[in-house]
C-alpha cells in the first residue's frame, strides 16, 4: 500500500476519473506551480472503482480552480487548513475558458492568427454551452 502524507494547507482534489489527473495538471498549469504537488493515480475507490487524486500544498489563494468546473464538476475539492478539511468547494462553470479547448470552425480567425489565445465564453449555464469569443461558434466536445 502506497501512502502519501496529508497536507497542512491547500487543496485535495478527489474523485477525479482515473487517468484524467494529467489533463488537470496541464489545465491548472501545475508545471509552473511553486507549491508541492502529489498526483496519486489509479487508486481503488468504492464509489468509482478507480480514481485519481491530486494534492496541492499551497496558500488557499495561490491557485484558481475554476476550470475544474468545466473539466468535471463532480470532482470533490477539499479545502485544507491547518491539517483539517474545513470546506468543500462547489465547482461552478467558469465564465471564460482560456486555452483549454480549441475552436473547430475553419473560418474562425483562431485558425490562422499566430499567438492568439483560444477563448470561450459561457453562454448558457444550464446547457453548459460555450461559444468561441471570436466567431461565436458553439463548442461541441468531440463526437457530439
Amino acid at each position: 500500500m502506497l501512502n502519501i502524507s496529508g497536507i497542512h494547507e491547500g487543496y485535495v482534489l478527489d474523485h477525479i476519473k482515473a487517468g484524467q489527473s494529467m489533463e488537470i495538471y496541464h489545465h491548472l498549469h501545475l508545471e509552473d506551480f511553486s507549491g508541492t504537488v502529489a498526483m496519486i493515480m489509479n487508486v481503488e475507490s468504492s464509489k468509482m472503482g478507480r480514481k485519481d487524486i491530486i494534492k496541492l500544498e499551497c496558500d488557499l489563494d495561490a491557485i484558481d480552480l475554476d476550470i475544474l468546473g468545466y473539466i468535471d464538476h463532480s470532482i470533490t475539492v477539499n479545502v485544507i487548513h491547518k491539517d483539517k478539511i474545513v470546506d468543500k468547494k462547489i465547482l461552478k462553470l467558469p465564465k471564460k475558458i482560456k486555452n483549454v479547448i480549441k475552436c473547430r470552425n475553419p473560418r474562425c480567425i483562431t485558425s490562422i492568427e499566430q499567438g492568439l489565445d483560444q477563448v470561450f465564453v459561457l453562454c448558457d449555464e444550464d446547457l453548459k454551452l460555450y461559444r468561441c469569443q471570436y466567431c461565436e461558434e458553439k463548442y461541441s466536445p468531440k463526437g457530439k
Partner: protein, 304 residues
C-alpha cells in the same frame, strides 16, 4: 475608445441617437462636410467588397476626411503572412479610424483588442456585418417613421445570409415585431435563430415556402440573394437561385405602403420592373448606408 463589432454593441437608445444623427446628416449635409477634416479612415479589406468599401469611403469623404487602405488581401501584407494584430498596430499609426472586412470570423475583434484607433467590423466571414444591419434599421425607421409594430418578411437564403441573422437579432429588441420567414426548406433559418432568438424572446413568426402567401400581410419585405459561393453543386444553386423572383404580379398582392428592401447586389430575385415601384426602397437603402456610416464614424471618433 469604442469599436463596432456587432449591431448588438449598441443599446436601442444608442441606436436611436445614432439614427437621429444620420437623419440630421441627411437633412443638413453641408453642416457635416468638414467635421472630419484632418482625419483619416483606413479601409482594410482582406476580401473584395466594392459596395461596402465605397460606402465607407464616400461617408468619410462627405465628412471632409481622407481615406487610405487596401481592397484585397493580395495587395496587403497579409500576403506576406502578417497577422491581423500586427497590421492594425501599423494602421493605427497611419489613420484615425479603421473599417475592416476579413474572410475569417472574429478578425475585426482581434484587431480591436490591439488597436489604438476605433475599429469597425465591415463584415467578417459568415459572422457579422453590423453596418448593413444599421443601414437596414435606418432605412426602415426613415421610410416607415418607426421601428416596431410591424410584420417583416425575410425571403430567400435565410440559412447562410448573415444580414438576415443580424437583422433578426437587432429587431427582436423592438416592440410588436412579427416575422414571416420565406424560404425553400433547404435554406430555412438555422435552429439557433429559431430557438435561441425567436422562441426565447416570444417573437411571433411563421415559416412559408410561397412568397405569394406572405405578401398581403407584410409591412416590410426583405429580399436576399442566394449566394453561389455557399453551394458545392451548380445544379442546386441554379434551382435555389430561381426559387423566388419578386415581380410586378407579386407586388400587386402587397400592401400599398409595403417597403421592399435588399442588401444588394441582386442577381435575379427582384425583377428590374419593380425598380420603378414607389415601394422599392433598395436603392434608397444604399444611400442610407452612407448616412449611417457617416454617423458611425462621427460617433466613434467622438466628434459629436
Amino acid at each position: 475608445m469604442r469599436h463596432l463589432m456587432s449591431p448588438m454593441d449598441f443599446t436601442v437608445e444608442e441606436l436611436e441617437t445614432l439614427m437621429d444623427l444620420a437623419n440630421d446628416i441627411e437633412k443638413n449635409p453641408d453642416r457635416y462636410s468638414k467635421v472630419c477634416e484632418g482625419k483619416t479612415l483606413a479601409t482594410c479589406f482582406y476580401e473584395p467588397s466594392t459596395r461596402t468599401r465605397l460606402s465607407f469611403e464616400a461617408a468619410m469623404i462627405n465628412l471632409g476626411g481622407q481615406v487610405l487602405g487596401f481592397a484585397s488581401a493580395d495587395s496587403s501584407s497579409a500576403a506576406k503572412g502578417e497577422s491581423v494584430s500586427d497590421t492594425i498596430r501599423v494602421i493605427s499609426c497611419y489613420a484615425n479610424i479603421c473599417a475592416m472586412r476579413h474572410p475569417k470570423e472574429g478578425a475585426p475583434l482581434v484587431a480591436s483588442k490591439k488597436s489604438l484607433i476605433p475599429v469597425i467590423n465591415a463584415g467578417d466571414g459568415g459572422h457579422e456585418h453590423p453596418t448593413q444591419t444599421l443601414t437596414d434599421l435606418l432605412t426602415i425607421r426613415s421610410l416607415n417613421g418607426k421601428i416596431g409594430n410591424m410584420t417583416i418578411g425575410l425571403c430567400g437564403d435565410l440559412k447562410f445570409g448573415r444580414t438576415v441573422h443580424s437583422l433578426i437579432n437587432a429587431l427582436v429588441r423592438y416592440e410588436g415585431i412579427k416575422f414571416v420567414l420565406i424560404s425553400p426548406k433547404e435554406l430555412r433559418v438555422p435552429d439557433y435563430i429559431r430557438e435561441d432568438v425567436l422562441e426565447k424572446n416570444n417573437i411571433p413568426y411563421k415559416e412559408l415556402e410561397r412568397l405569394e402567401d406572405a405578401m398581403p400581410s407584410l409591412d416590410i419585405l426583405y429580399m436576399t440573394r442566394v449566394q453561389q459561393e455557399r453551394f458545392f453543386n451548380e445544379e442546386e444553386y441554379l434551382r435555389m437561385k430561381g426559387f423566388y423572383i419578386l415581380d410586378e404580379d407579386k407586388m400587386k398582392l402587397a400592401k400599398s405602403d409595403m417597403l421592399v428592401l435588399h442588401p444588394l447586389p441582386r442577381v435575379n430575385e427582384i425583377s428590374v420592373e419593380v425598380d420603378d415601384d414607389p415601394r422599392a426602397a433598395y436603392f434608397k437603402q444604399a444611400q442610407y448606408g452612407v448616412y449611417i456610416r457617416m454617423a458611425l464614424i462621427l460617433t466613434l471618433l467622438e466628434l459629436v
